[in-house]
Chain length 279, copies 2
């Protein structure tokens, strides 16, 4: 495994002709969710590149940029174990040199859901991903469904800007008790950790209700909000949207997905689930 | 010469290995300015691709999109004569399909000069050029210095987004009497055509004044505005900026460039000139 810390070296890296390149962009502090993306890339592509960069442009001024968890040494060990070929670790000054002033935005999709409570977040996400794609030049980029809105926004960006890189979506990886893996779970106290389960509980209840024939989105949303509030977390949003384009839905169908953001103590967590009854 | 009207065909076009690709994006109605870019590409690159697309996203609601001059047949003849290899002529629906919603913006540079009187113009320019570069995948893109602000904005975009395509700037091509070539010159009546010369006259006067030792930018700007007004055109802006980054200048130096936009009748024309005395 080669660790690359130079921008020009990464840009000029010549992959062997005819080999497919898979890419996993991360902010580090890797958990099994990230590692499942690496495994998917190892399976589908000849060469696997991961990047570790805590992207300041996607944090708001009052968000957790400075306290975001970091452990590069442990990350590198995990990536090496899985047989990653290259790890790109750029500095902030390389990615956003003085005078940096170009931004990419997917408009409508960036204004809903997390975009409401995190203005500018997805502009930061789109810009860093476009830059990383230009630098790494992968055939496929692997992303988890946990950040479902991010996944949809980046798919839209790739399509609208005629980029050739294909996005491969991978399922959410959960702890044994159902909590969606997230680097931010490390913020949770023991009591908050127990409380955090209410997000997945609310999602499962909604899916259960759908399997029993409920089809009214407003009712299902109200039910989920109640579950989260009763548990003691603060709802940021609960929505049911068409998972193909994040358009609103009144009546549940096979494309319905429930998306939740909630504060558990001071920690903002997100999760989502297709409401299609399990086979 | 192959004319390509299909997006997927252009995206999948395989250039011979090891051959360099030069690209000239145009809005058609080609004049000798465009053709000089083609010649530069033919000289520097193995394969030359031109595109013809009147980009609606860079026209304001009250601008001349519908009346913008078009003559594809004549354009194709000219391009063929010069030995262009591929001409890409996409439709509007291909470039901006329904639901298109992703935009690229270079912030500061897009707000000054033409950005003031044409809000959104450079966002449209950046977005189409990024798309075309992703579609055509050139090594070099050839652009005229007439749209000097556009040139600087696109250079900045390429740099900020880590694109590998190099921009090659080519000098302004002028009519015998000095009028900068522009597709919009076709709008000019005979009397306006004579009047239009005042832009270049004002630029030359400024350069002459600098060669005589004048160094006060405000004074030179005032002089140029007067020349244009006396001729009977309406000044949109006259500015003297550092040609390396379009930052403001009070005192002339070797990097000073004067940029002018003025209305000649209803036609908005632009021109610019380095104020460095000619050798």
């Amino acid at each position: 495994m080669q660790v690359i810390r130079s921008l020009s070296q990464m840009m000029q890296l010549a992959y062997p002709a005819g080999k497919s390149v898979g890419f996993i962009p991360t902010m580090g502090y890797l958990h099994r969710g990230h590692l499942s993306l690496v495994q998917a890339s190892k399976k589908e592509c000849d060469i696997t590149v991961a990047s570790i960069f805590v992207n300041p442009a996607q944090f708001g001024p009052k968000e957790d940029l400075s306290s975001y968890p970091r452990d590069i040494e442990r990350d590198l060990k995990e990536l090496e174990k899985l047989g990653v070929d290259y790890v790109f670790i750029p500095s902030e000054a390389m990615i956003y040199p003085e005078g940096f002033d170009t931004w990419v935005q997917v408009q409508r999709l960036s204004q809903i859901l997390c975009g409401n409570s995190r203005p500018g977040h997805f502009k930061g996400v789109c810009t860093i991903v476009l830059k990383l794609i230009n630098i790494v030049r992968p055939d496929k980029m692997f992303m988890g469904e946990k950040d479902y809105q991010q996944l949809m926004i980046l798919r839209k960006m790739m399509h609208d800007l005629n980029l050739k890189t294909k996005i491969v979506a991978c399922p959410i990886v959960r702890e044994t008790d159902g909590l969606a893996m997230s680097s931010r779970n490390s913020y949770l106290s023991t009591s908050d950790r127990a409380l955090a389960l209410c997000l997945f509980k609310a999602l499962k209840e909604a899916r259960q209700a759908v399997s029993e024939g409920k089809t009214d989105a407003h009712m299902l949303i109200a039910l989920a909000k109640q579950t989260i509030r009763i548990a003691g977390a603060n709802v940021d949003y609960v929505e049911i949207l068409d998972e193909r384009d994040l358009s609103e839905q009144e009546i549940i169908d096979e494309h319905s997905r429930m998306l939740i953001a909630a504060y558990v103590g001071k920690t903002r967590l997100i999760d989502n689930l297709s409401l299609k009854p399990e086979n």
